[in-house]
């Protein structure tokens, strides 16, 4: 190795700043081809929309804001909110059951999630729409949150508090709502469980080392952190639920959006414009929810090393532009 006396001026004074690098960028011809293809396809699609008279735009616009359609939109939103609210409640209960150390509770939670996740929602909803076939009266002896059980056989339970006509009660709207909520509960159970399990066990440990009880730990330490993991998929579930309200048309729930739009189609035989209208309505509604979800997610990641996250994201981007990450 070279041996030299140390440089005479050990503290470098930074010289004047050199010119910033403005390099000629590398060309990507392949990309341009792809862009041209996309442009052509987009143009053709627009051309189709404009020239093909089967779209019947004016008819569509006339009809897609009629009061019954607006009613359908409201129904979709109301069902989404109600089914999600019930579903989240059921989901938390089922998740805690599944995480119980008691095998019977855990098993019951498992059966519930397994059953309702394994059956297509549309089959479930049609089935629930026909549940009235089983009984003529329903009678309740246990509170509402046991409705699952109630649905499946309460008619010979002795502690009857009140009863009603099953044929009217479990049909249409109610049947659809219950079906969606039970199904959602099973999905939410999995999400909540994953969220709870995602929290570093060190957190629960630290909490119990401080003398906090299991319930306190769950409520104050684990669940708030699990929220970060729970919220994004719950947002997705919400959006999925909004879309799945379209399945209510097959229960059938007549004041549902898709049913109403189809009804206009069937009255006038202009099926296609009304399907396009359905697409547009759902596009609009889900897009709004997606925007909402974006903000909710942002809110829930507050305080969690936002700085690091931003840094990581920045690093990705710069590494990418430097030719690093794909």
């Amino acid at each position: 190795m070279t041996q030299q006396p140390p440089a005479p001026e050990p503290q470098p004074e930074p010289r004047s700043r050199p010119e910033a690098i403005k390099a000629v960028p590398v060309r990507h011809p392949g990309r341009w081809v792809a862009i041209v293809v996309i442009a052509i396809l987009a143009a053709m699609f627009v051309h189709l929309l404009v020239t093909n008279d089967r779209f019947e735009w004016s008819f569509m616009i006339d009809n897609m804001f009629r009061p019954p359609v607006i009613e359908g939109v409201k129904t979709a939103l109301v069902v989404t909110v109600l089914a999600m609210a019930i579903g989240i409640t059921l989901g938390i209960i089922a998740a805690i059951m599944r995480l119980s150390t008691n095998p019977i509770l855990a098993g019951a939670g498992w059966v519930y999630t397994w059953f309702f996740r394994a059956i297509p929602r549309v089959v479930l909803l049609v089935l629930f729409g026909n549940l009235g076939i089983l009984w003529e009266r329903l009678e309740f002896g246990i509170p509402f949150d046991r409705q699952l059980g109630a649905l499946f056989g309460i008619h010979d339970f002795s502690a009857r508090l009140f009863g009603f006509d099953a044929r009217t009660a479990i049909s249409g709207f109610t049947a659809g709502l219950i079906g969606l909520a039970l199904s959602e509960g099973a999905y939410m159970a999995e999400i909540v469980r994953a969220g709870i399990q995602s929290v570093d066990p060190g957190q629960a440990e630290a909490s119990s080392a401080l003398g906090m009880s299991r319930g306190l730990t769950l409520r104050r330490v684990v669940l708030p952190q699990a929220m970060r993991v729970i919220v994004p998929p719950t947002g997705n579930e919400m959006i999925a639920m909004l879309k799945d309200t379209s399945l209510l048309a097959f229960v059938p729930v007549t004041n549902e959006l898709f049913f109403q739009l189809s009804a206009i189609g069937s009255r006038t035989f202009k099926v296609f414009p009304m399907l396009v209208a359905a697409c547009l309505w759902y596009l609009a509604m889900t897009s709004i929810l997606m925007i909402g979800q974006y903000f909710v997610e942002r809110y829930f990641s507050r305080g969690y090393g936002t700085a690091q996250k931003a840094k990581a994201r920045l690093r990705d981007i710069t590494a990418e532009s430097g030719g690093g990450t794909p």
């Binding site: 570093d200 060190g202 957190q203 440990e205 630290a206 909490s207 119990s208 080392a209 401080l210 003398g211 906090m212 009880s213 299991r214 306190l216 104050r220 330490v221 708030p224 952190q225 305080g303 969690y304 090393g305 936002t306 700085a307 690091q308």
Partner: protein, 274 residues
């Protein structure tokens, strides 16, 4: 100092039933396995009030496990542990052991502060909220009182200006000091430290050790698992060297470090001090 009294009983003799007075921690012939691997193989140890007991030993020797057994985060398989005269995790009644209920275990743990290698601060709470959490929720202290006390504790660990920072906005050393303050907030009689500085950048180690030295000076009983030999020499009343689930050697840190009796201790110290 800890004396590893190999109690006078012959092997197989009936267990002595209670700790002597003047002992903060008594660990008696403790065994602990995970599945089929035995991690602790007959540990005996006594820590007297106001004593600082430092534990060293190679990775996997069971140091963390022993600490975790002391506050019943792990259940031991055999033996007994007492903290401040109370049997940990069980009640002996009619010659039979009964598991304590969750609440009772929690009550025992309140007397024992624990500081983890990876801090385990609650990331969704600010520094002061981390410190207030247990007093407010567990001992039901009024919020305002808890706040004042938490601020005082954070001041004591040198973080008076970081009360409202989230853990992610603090350096490792600062986080660990918050963790110490959080444990102190429950006014523990005993503090357990599990390699409190090993996840820290070398520059940040000093600030945490300083806080611990302060605690020791104030008379806190402490068990400290550490690789900081300097700290053990300066602050420790006893040094315990563990290897393979047993305590190989223990005694005055200056004596053990200068003149280890056992081959395994010598080999380990040679590596660590190099």
């Amino acid at each position: 100092m800890t004396d590893l009294t190999v109690t006078g009983d012959a092997p197989g003799a009936p267990e002595p039933s209670a700790p002597r007075t003047g002992e903060m921690v008594r660990v008696e012939n403790v065994y602990k396995s995970f599945g089929s691997t035995e991690v602790l193989k007959g540990i005996d140890m006594v820590v007297r009030p106001a004593e600082v007991c430092c534990m060293i030993g190679p990775s996997g020797s069971g140091k963390s496990t022993l600490l975790r057994c002391v506050n019943h985060l792990e259940k031991i398989n055999a033996g007994r542990i007492w903290v401040d005269g109370d049997l940990v995790g069980y009640r002996e009644r009619g010659g039979k052991l009964h598991e304590l209920r969750e609440k009772e275990v929690a009550a025992q743990r309140r007397a024992i502060g624990m500081v983890f290698q990876r801090f385990n601060l609650f990331p969704h709470l600010t520094a002061i909220e981390n410190v207030m959490e247990a007093p407010v929720r567990v001992t039901r202290l009024a919020k305002s009182t808890a706040k004042t006390e938490a601020a005082a504790l954070l001041d004591r660990v040198g973080l008076a200006d970081k009360l409202l920072n989230y853990p992610a906005q603090l350096s490792g050393g600062q986080q660990q000091r918050v963790a110490i303050a959080r444990a102190l907030a429950m006014r523990p009689k005993l503090m357990l430290f599990d390699e409190p500085t090993s996840a820290l950048d070398p520059e940040l180690v000093g600030e945490v050790l300083d806080v611990m030295k302060g605690l020791a000076k104030d008379g806190m009983t402490m068990i400290v698992v550490t690789h900081e030999i300097g700290f053990a020499r300066e602050v420790g009343d006893t040094l315990v060297f563990m290897d393979g689930g047993v305590i190989v050697e223990s005694g005055d840190p200056r004596v053990v470090l200068a003149n280890p009796q056992h081959q395994r201790t010598k080999a380990f110290l040679a590596k660590v001090l190099s």
